[in-house]
């Protein structure tokens, strides 16, 4: 979360201030309101169309006003909203499961005679979720007890990689819906090299990874190119490219080049043993070295965004493309480059699928990872480590959902409902704050700002 506090791009902000000096003063007069929304959406008086990227995920943000206590900043900040969104979604999901579970209705009938029964029924699915995603206390040996947490890491690996791709594009002001297609392309390139070439240990995996990165980068770069050269909207282009990638995959799987020998089903041969990520904890766990690659990718994106010139340019373009252009940044180049890197990250997710868990290519190799990645990036506020932890959380939901379904027969769809609720709440920070009583009260300009805001900050802190 350290990147949250790093100074935002100075050049466009300075240009911005010079262009519209009036805009600066109201910001300082009511800092609380602006900190709460976290972002200034600048449409230059309607001249610039508003970005498709949710404001909370954009690069532009301003530093908190001087009158805010640290506590208040924490409680009204975006990280808190993310956390509270998750809490709210879990509570609502629990209510939904309780209402739809006939056993709950049955035990509610004698709640006062045996309250334990109702509570057990209500909490059983979530207990199973924890049991399936973190620690299995019913396991007979250490391996069985630790299996869930390794499963969470395994499932979250592609989510993190693809989530980083979406987050990076968000920071440059681009809504990358195309992670799904980029994953497919990464998987397609990587898998083909994986089962046709036969290279020595180490080298083969490396070549497969590079092929996957190139595949994703090509599919993402096309979007950037179209956007930069023709102004085609990236949302439309990525959605359409998803279809093309998906149907291309289905078609290729019916051709002899991709089809498994002796099979008429649309499934590719297995990848070479040398093309697979090594298992980290032995064959009884699915956890593979791809997870370490995901950690490295997260560190890379953090470095890229916060320590490199290219990343600075991405953020500047994301904060205000016109201002960035005026400041001498090549916006077209940034757009193409950021989409190519975002695509490469999604392509890496495809590689962790074919070289990690699946070991072959099938029509459903990308599952719904590309779309879940959007949610992950939103929950992670488009910051690299935020995305990493959001990916872990969603991985836990996915891994735990399997156990929840197997043990309590709760439909797996409830996990999707919880995920969707999280996005819903994240998209509406004022709603979340209102529910928890954290909404900043509007101050009258005549009042002494410092004391008032401090007091209300402490108060809402105590309330939560």
């Amino acid at each position: 979360m350290s990147e949250k506090t790093t100074p935002e791009p100075a050049a466009p902000a300075g240009k911005h201030a010079a262009k519209e000096p009036a805009a600066d003063s109201p910001m300082q007069a009511s800092p609380v309101e602006d900190v709460a929304s976290g972002v200034v959406i600048d449409t230059a008086g309607g001249n610039i169309p508003p970005s498709a990227v949710p404001s909370s995920s954009q690069s532009g943000s301003i530093r908190p006003g001087p009158g805010d206590s640290l506590l208040r900043q924490i409680f009204t900040g975006n990280a808190m909203v993310s956390l509270l969104s998750v809490v709210l979604a879990i509570v609502l999901g629990g209510i939904l499961m309780a209402v739809t579970n006939p056993k709950v209705a049955a035990t509610a009938g004698y709640f006062f005679a045996q309250p334990g029964d109702l509570l057990t029924e209500v909490f059983r699915p979530y207990a199973a979720l924890v049991q399936g995603s973190i620690f299995n206390w019913a396991g007979t040996d250490t391996a069985a007890q630790l299996y869930p947490i390794t499963e969470t890491l395994t499932v979250s690996t592609p989510l993190i990689c693809a989530g980083l791709g979406v987050a990076l594009a968000f920071r440059a002001g681009l809504f990358n819906i195309g992670a799904q297609g980029q994953i497919i392309f990464g998987a397609l390139f990587g898998a083909y090299i994986g089962f046709t070439w036969h290279l020595p240990v180490g080298l083969h995996l490396l070549v497969v990874i590079v092929a996957g990165l190139i595949g994703g980068a090509v599919w993402g770069g096309v979007v950037g190119l179209l956007k930069a050269r023709t102004g085609a909207h990236e949302v439309i282009v990525t959605i359409m490219l998803n279809y093309i990638a998906n149907f291309l995959l289905l078609f290729l799987l019916t051709t002899p080049a991709f089809q498994r020998k002796g099979s008429t089903n649309p499934i590719s041969p297995f990848l070479d043993q040398n093309a697979l990520f090594p298992e980290l904890l032995g064959p009884q766990f699915r956890l593979h070295a791809g997870f370490l690659v995901a950690v490295l990718a997260t560190a890379f994106v953090w470095w890229l965004l916060n320590r490199s010139t290219v990343g600075f340019e991405f953020r500047a373009v994301g904060a205000n493309a016109s201002a960035a252009q005026t400041a001498g940044i090549n916006v077209a180049r940034s757009t193409i480059l950021v989409m190519a890197i975002a695509g490469a990250l999604a392509g890496l997710a495809g590689i962790t699928q074919v070289s990690g868990t699946e070991k072959y290519l099938s029509g459903g190799v990308a599952a719904s990872i590309g779309f879940d990645a959007i949610t992950v990036a939103l929950l992670g506020r488009s910051t690299p480590w935020g995305t990493f932890f959001a990916g872990l959380l969603f991985g836990a939901f996915r891994a735990g959902g399997v156990a929840m379904q197997a043990q309590t027969q709760t439909p797996i769809d409830i996990v999707l409902v919880i995920q969707s609720l999280i996005v819903l709440f994240i998209a509406a920070p004022p709603l979340v704050r209102a529910i928890f009583g954290l909404n900043p009260r509007k101050k009258k300009p005549t009042q002494g700002g410092t004391a008032g805001s401090k007091a209300s900050g402490v108060k809402s802190g105590a309330a939560a």
């Binding site: 009938g109 004698y110 699915r286």
Partner: protein
């Protein structure tokens, strides 16, 4: 001041809501707890647990996932066993779902569809003490604890082809598939051969559109979801003069059904042949146009395998559903019975006997290897 009053009022109203809620809880929650020594009714409960993992179609697909699941439910009722089932949302769910079934202590896990083939093989190899059965897929390299459940659907589809050719008034029948995969094209192969056999025997020239058996290519929707595309394809067939359509595309068959209903409302006489289950029962919206169905009786097969395993009679020999063992069948004609001449019925009976005895050979590239 005003503000705080309003806040107080708000709090007051919230308290009111809470009171009402609590009262409701009090009123509804006063029943007596059931005694823990509840008498078990029905079949004697067994500790034996049978499990099922769906493919990404889910248990409500009105096709093989659903039929298989019905077999599991029936076993619970008849054999008094425990069951667990999990739905896969995507191809990537198969492996973890299967692992979780083994961890849940399932004695036999039934998986549905070729998509689960690799996962089943891997998990079965890793857990030699658990038993598995897989519907609609066979792999000669399966370990000894996997029982494939496959169907020689071409045999029943052959009867359907013969029936369609004999009842068509325009001399044209049609078929289309969901995706060009063996479990789909085996229907089309059998149907095609049935039409051909009718032509040979009667010296007629009934045409089949939508499938070329020699080229193994024809008309396909592309998936098992786009019901509207099924409707468009069927309208196209009707425009070309076909009057009997066999959609081999699971739920997409509904699109064909609605196109035929519309045509019928306009005065064109057209009929539908359903697949997998008896459409007269499972797709009652179209029962007025369903001539017959090419059935795969999966529920029975699943129940048989579960029963055998429970009685410690599990073996890995594939179960091949044929006309002989009733694994595949041509469904009754129901409401359209008058449309089928008596001659045709006796010919179909004879043909069925001939196929069972081997006098008439039904061959498809997609038929399960015995």
């Amino acid at each position: 001041m005003k503000k705080s009053l309003r806040a107080n009022f708000k709090r007051g109203s919230m308290a009111g809501v809470a009171t009402v809620g609590a009262t409701a809880l009090l009123l509804t929650g006063c029943g007596a707890a059931p005694s823990s020594s509840g008498s078990s009714s029905g079949a004697a409960k067994s500790d034996y647990t049978a499990c099922m993992v769906s493919d990404s179609g889910g248990f409500d697909d009105k096709s093989f996932n659903q039929s298989g699941y019905e077999g599991l439910q029936q076993s619970v009722k008849d054999l008094g066993i425990q069951e667990k089932h999990v739905q896969s949302k995507a191809d990537t769910d198969y492996d973890p779902n299967l692992r979780s079934m083994v961890q849940q202590g399932c004695k036999l896990t039934v998986t549905v569809g070729f998509l689960l083939g690799d996962a089943t093989k891997a998990i079965a190899t890793a857990n030699p003490n658990s038993h598995f059965a897989i519907i609609d897929y066979n792999d000669p390299t399966f370990p000894k604890n996997v029982k494939p459940i496959v169907y020689d659907t071409a045999q029943a589809a052959f009867l359907a082809g013969y029936l369609a050719a004999g009842t068509s008034k325009t001399g044209k029948v049609a078929t289309f598939g969901g995706v060009n995969i063996p479990t789909v094209t085996i229907f089309m192969d059998g149907f095609s051969d049935g039409v051909k056999y009718y032509n040979q025997k009667k010296g007629k020239n009934v045409q089949l559109i939508g499938w070329d058996k020699d080229k193994q290519d024809g008309t396909f929707v592309g998936d098992f979801k786009q019901v509207d595309k099924g409707k468009v394809l069927t309208q196209g067939f009707l425009d070309q003069g076909a009057d009997i359509v066999l959609p081999v595309a699971g739920p997409v068959g509904a699109g064909a059904g609605s196109a035929i209903l519309e045509a019928k409302a306009k005065g064109t006489d057209a009929k539908l042949i359903w697949v997998d289950s008896d459409g007269y029962v499972t797709a009652p919206d179209y029962k007025s146009v369903i001539l017959s169905s090419v059935q795969k009786t999966m529920a029975t097969a699943v129940e048989t395998v579960i029963k055998d395993d429970k009685d410690s009679k599990f073996d890995a020999t594939p179960y091949v559903g044929t006309l002989e063992n009733g694994g595949v069948a041509l469904a009754p004609f129901h409401d359209l019975d008058p449309a089928v001449p008596a001659d045709m019925k006796s010919e179909l009976d004879q043909l069925k006997k001939d196929i069972v005895s081997g006098t008439v050979k039904v061959e498809s590239k997609s038929s399960p290897t015995k």
